[in-house]
């Protein structure tokens, strides 16, 4: 049977070994436990040379080379402005041209819809089937989980 005060001291040592390190000098039992644990912990981990590991995709990714970005951006803007000036165009004209491609898509969709309305019942059924098949295939492909990191 252990003395209760010694038992409390052992308990305190086990809870916080670093703060109660002096307890080891007075308690042979705890000294034996500590020695056994140290012997087990003395197995050294394998040496890993970080440089031999493949480069992870996130390494250096947060670096922001502003001189490169701003320089290339400025060069691109200057070339664009010079070309617009040479072609006698304003930035508004550029915006209108980019909207024209959207308009082309819109007119394509509108004409397809008009054709569908005028089509026979059989064609409408076929379109409906194509719509269902393509969207089912889309759902099927979306169900596959991405594997980029694990590849």
């Amino acid at each position: 049977m252990k003395d209760p005060t010694v038992e409390d001291a052992c308990q305190r040592y086990l809870e916080d070994p670093e703060a109660n390190a002096a307890h080891l000098e007075t308690c042979a039992e705890c000294r034996a436990v500590s020695a056994a644990l140290s012997a087990k912990a003395s197995v050294e981990p394998a040496v890993i040379d970080v440089n031999t590991l493949p480069l992870a995709n996130w390494e250096g990714s947060s670096h922001r080379p502003w001189p490169l970005v701003l320089g290339l951006g400025a060069v691109l803007v200057i070339i664009a402005l010079a070309l617009c000036d040479a072609a006698g165009m304003s930035p508004v004209h550029v915006a209108e041209s980019s909207l024209a491609s959207m308009e082309a898509i819109r007119s394509l969709v509108n004409s397809a819809t008009a054709s569908l309305r005028g089509a026979s019942f059989g064609w409408q059924i076929a379109f409906g089937a194509a719509f269902l098949i393509v969207n089912a295939l889309l759902v099927l492909l979306l169900r596959r989980s991405p594997r980029g990191i694990d590849a």
């Binding site: 691109l76 550029v94 889309l138 169900r143 990191i149």
Partner: protein
């Protein structure tokens, strides 16, 4: 079932490719050198518009990379890891967008079509923008990315997501300026980008659908 799917998938990809090519093809697909002053002016105007749009793309790409660099990086990695899946998904997605737009347009007289069409348009545009930035990153990394840690440490400017995106824009933009081939390359990149954006759920790597488990 598997055999049917094996046959069905390539056929659908071919069909989707044809539809996408028909939609993406430039309106005037003639191969000729500029013979008159008007032709030369039109060519110069086209080049000016393309370059101006590239500048807009660069600002959008830089802003998006600053806002969500990690997501762009994940998507770029996915594109390089499973390119075929991303391309097939992109083809099917573009075809689905077009067919869904026709269906929603069909529903316009019933009022519900207008908001649905608007939502589809916004979603398609956002998908394309995000996907293209992921394509820029992938191209930049493939061409100018560091292969070793020493190479990465030696570099002062040509490292990081932002640099890879900018390099990708410059390369793809230069290709875009080539007549006839350029728009086709850009269109294929868009298909890749849309597929990647959808495959990775905009870089979040979450499933699109909840798995239904039967007890």
């Amino acid at each position: 079932m598997r055999r049917m799917l094996r046959l069905f998938l390539p056929l659908t990809v071919v069909a989707a490719s044809l539809v996408t090519a028909m939609i993406a093809a430039p309106p005037s697909f003639g191969v000729h050198a500029p013979l008159t002053v008007a032709d030369a002016t039109a060519m110069l105007q086209n080049t000016a518009i393309t370059t101006a749009l590239l500048a807009v793309w660069m600002f959008a790409a830089v802003a998006l990379t600053l806002l969500s660099g990690r997501e762009i990086r994940y998507s770029s990695l996915e594109m390089r890891a499973s390119a075929l899946h991303c391309f097939a998904l992109g083809l099917v997605a573009v075809t689905s967008f077009v067919l869904t737009a026709i269906v929603f347009s069909y529903l316009i007289p019933y009022l519900v079509g207008v908001p649905l069409l608007f939502a589809l348009g916004v979603f398609a545009i956002l998908t394309k923008i995000y996907g293209m930035v992921a394509v820029f990153h992938a191209i930049g990394t493939l061409v100018a990315g560091s292969r070793t840690r020493e190479q990465l440490n030696r570099r002062r400017w040509l490292r990081g997501d932002l640099a890879m995106v900018v390099v990708g824009i410059i390369i793809l933009g230069a290709l875009r300026l080539i007549p006839i081939v350029g728009p086709i390359i850009w269109g294929l990149s868009s298909v890749f980008g849309i597929g990647t954006a959808l495959a990775t759920k905009f870089g979040r790597r979450e499933p699109w659908f909840l798995a239904l488990k039967v007890a």
